[in-house]
């Protein structure tokens, strides 16, 4: 009732706010009153020397999500907005819309480094809707589950575990988590404390001697057999580096149980583009794909492929040729800079392919 009245008022406000909408003025007064997903960093928790948890309170415009899914987090670093996906490491609290993500510093990772070193409580982050099917089954109270994770791959698993604990679920859980050593074991204390009859949590270390009852070494079928003899009858989840992912998925494939395994790869590798190289250019609207070198503007490539994109000056000054980048990166032919995030508008008259790209043309 109240919400619908507010909506009506806002719609009337949109006319007064022409050519913008009312939300642009409301967010001037309070940035969280925006119609874009945003959140405030409520607390930071240092998990390990290079991992930090952000507890974020989202505004009403953010659609919410389920533990284990990933949310896109946008941060302005040196003025420029960067988006990265992070798993929800906690369920979203219904009343407060609070949730957490846990971010591990990657070597040379601009965003993860910024989050670890510079972000403070009270800072604002941008949020996009969550996605992914790495979530608990809808019917779960009588289910048997198996979680396998390594390194920061623990975050979506932790989200699901916390959710099960919070809702006092009857699900039977076995968890197997790997970390290089105890100092870098994210959520170490909480994992230990959550170990119970109903939720048996096994820690393994790969580069340090194992302590009281923990396991040592990397994942193997034998190890799984040892800690969880009934793994074949469980709904399984795996998240971690590619070596772990492939070992687990091969095991399940060999057993003919692939359909029982949900996988979440948490490191997206961006292909290194050799200096000056071009790539395949896909035009998604036209449904065409052509090869391009690293020196020919995408406008010329498009025209060569028989498309007629809108344009003006052909020299980079008018923005008459902006096209939306779907995937990949481009090279600014004037400055040589390689850039591009999906969804970004690029001037195709002065940008060339830097590796494979696809454009909304």
């Amino acid at each position: 009732m109240v919400a619908s009245t507010v909506k009506k008022l806002l719609r009337a406000g949109d006319w007064l706010a022409t050519p913008l909408n009312a939300a642009r003025y409301l967010e001037t007064i309070n940035p969280l009153w925006s119609d874009h997903g945003r959140g405030r960093v409520e607390r930071l928790i240092q998990e390990t020397p290079d991992t930090v948890t952000l507890v974020i309170r989202a505004n009403g415009a953010w659609a919410g999500g389920e533990a284990g899914q990933y949310v896109q987090l946008g941060l302005d670093i040196d003025g420029v907005r960067y988006w990265r996906c992070y798993s929800l490491a906690s369920p979203v609290q219904p009343g407060s819309r609070e949730f957490s993500v846990t971010v591990n510093r990657l070597d040379g990772g601009r965003v993860s480094t910024y989050i670890n070193d510079c972000l403070r409580a009270g800072d604002l982050v941008h949020l996009k809707a969550t996605a992914g099917d790495f979530v608990l089954p809808a019917q779960r109270d009588d289910q048997k589950l198996l979680f396998i994770s390594a390194g920061s791959g623990v975050t979506p698993v932790m989200g699901m575990l916390r959710q099960l604990i919070a809702e006092r679920s009857g699900a039977d859980v076995v968890m197997l988590h790997f970390s290089p050593d105890y100092a870098h074991c994210i959520f170490h204390d909480e994992l230990r404390a959550s170990n119970s009859e109903q939720r048996r949590i096994h820690l393994a270390v790969t580069r340090e001697d194992a302590r009281d009852g923990d396991l040592a070494g990397h994942f193997s079928a034998d190890m799984l057999e040892q800690v969880c003899p009934d793994w074949r009858s469980r709904q399984a989840y795996v998240c971690g580096p590619s070596s772990l992912m492939s070992a687990v998925s091969e095991l399940f494939l060999g057993a003919g149980l692939s359909s029982q395994l949900k996988q979440e790869a948490f490191v997206l590798k961006r292909a290194e583009v050799p200096e000056g190289a071009g790539g395949k250019v896909g035009f998604v609207v036209a449904g065409k794909q052509v090869d391009a070198d690293g020196k020919t503007s995408l406008l010329e490539v498009a025209e060569g492929a028989g498309l007629t994109p809108e344009h003006g000056c052909r020299m980079g000054i008018c923005c008459g040729c902006l096209a939306t980048l779907k995937e990949g990166q481009v090279r600014d032919l004037n400055t040589g800079e390689v850039f591009g995030e999906s969804g970004e508008k690029v001037r195709i008259c002065v940008c060339a392919a830097a590796g494979d790209v696809s454009l909304e043309l």
Binding site: T18, T28, I317
Partner: protein, 374 residues
């Protein structure tokens, strides 16, 4: 500006450039681009803060201005003070924010709300339409008679290179109307809409454009002349008058700033032949010769949307405007070294010489081409 080809043929160059060899022009272009590269690589959080704070200050000012206008119900002075504040808000929105965002100066922030592709500004001309005619036609063809449609806006004769016809006799009046209704002049001044009457533009495209224009006009008029006045109930008319005054003041100011950019004395015009085989250096040099700055302090720069740095804006249309003030002395020094005039005077002087041209070129000169009818 990579896409210009290098050719140094014997086409007639502009007389002010005759003393420069091809090598000189290349060197000039290199120096122009070096200045740009230095600034563009140093963009960062400070610049982002500038535009975000400015946008939020402008929105506050506008909110408060609307309230002060309503406070005119309690005391009449509210209408006047509110109108002045609203005019200021509209000027900031159109000039330092809108114009520059629409050039893509802030695209590097990757903020979907501060992008050339999405910004819609507070005047009757739809952003996309203006971008095409301004960024493309005007910035690329700066001061090339016959190509740059912004030269005289097809209403005024401001150079003896434009053939005279009797219609220009009334241009002192057209000039005045242009100043009063500047936003409307900009909105209807569009090559594709002009050809619409002659049936040249493909019909669906022109229809689409016209629809967009009419919708924008409807919303803009609806806001300032219907909705806000209606909210004031019996004070409908005073609120309408205050809003109209704000729009009028914005029009006058925008007119003044923009006419000072390319039409004062000693700004050079070019013929299509002179630019036919333009090289990279020529292109930059034409931007300098074809533009004029307005000297003044930080307030002048802010209120003019930094078009007081028209020369720098034409050299670097995508450089964030808050940086023009720092590159202006460097550009000026560069021009001095290459013997290129750098036109910068106070607002009054620039405006005076524009108006003098309006009167002078209303009548044909002795050697001017005269067309009998339009």
């Amino acid at each position: 500006m990579t896409s210009l080809n290098h050719s140094h043929s014997a086409v007639p160059v502009h007389p002010s450039l005759a003393h420069l060899s091809a090598a000189d022009r290349d060197a000039f272009a290199d120096e122009v681009e070096a200045i740009e590269a230095r600034v563009m690589s140093s963009l960062g959080a400070r610049d982002a803060r500038y535009i975000r704070r400015l946008i939020s200050a402008q929105r506050w000012l506008e909110l408060v201005a609307r309230l002060v206008i309503f406070a005119g119900i309690l005391h009449w002075s509210g209408f006047i003070i509110g109108a002045l504040m609203l005019a200021l808000a509209k000027i900031l929105e159109n000039m330092e924010i809108g114009h520059n965002v629409l050039h893509g100066q802030w695209d590097w922030l990757r903020d979907p709300d501060i992008q050339a592709a999405t910004w819609e500004w507070d005047n009757v001309c739809p952003s996309a339409q203006w971008q095409r005619s301004h960024n493309h036609l005007h910035h690329k063809w700066t001061n090339v008679i016959g190509m740059d449609r912004d030269f005289g806006y097809h209403i005024l004769r401001l150079s003896d290179q434009q053939p005279w016809h009797p219609g220009y006799l009334v241009q002192p009046v057209s000039n005045l109307l242009m100043a009063l209704f500047f936003q409307w002049g900009v909105a209807i001044h569009d090559d594709e809409l002009a050809t619409l009457r002659q049936g040249e533009t493909p019909a669906p495209r022109a229809r689409q454009k016209l629809d967009n224009l009419l919708r924008k006009i409807g919303r803009q008029l609806g806001k300032d002349y219907l909705l806000f006045p209606l909210l004031a109930g019996p004070f409908f008319l005073p609120v309408l008058a205050a809003n109209a005054a704000a729009n009028l003041l914005r029009n006058l100011w925008a007119y003044a700033v923009i006419f000072c950019g390319h039409f004062p004395d000693d700004v050079h015009e070019f013929t299509p032949e002179q630019v036919a085989n333009e090289d990279r250096g020529h292109w930059y040099l034409r931007q300098v010769l074809g533009s004029a700055n307005i000297s003044g302090g930080p307030l002048m720069h802010l209120l003019s949307g930094n078009l007081s740095h028209q020369i720098e804006h034409h050299l670097y249309p995508r450089m964030p405007s808050n940086r023009y003030a720092e590159v202006a002395p460097q550009v000026r020094e560069l021009c001095a070294r290459y013997g290129i005039p750098y036109n910068s005077h106070g607002l009054a002087r620039q405006l005076f010489t524009v108006w003098r041209k309006v009167f002078r070129y209303a009548v044909p000169g002795r050697n001017d081409t005269v067309l009998q009818a339009r």
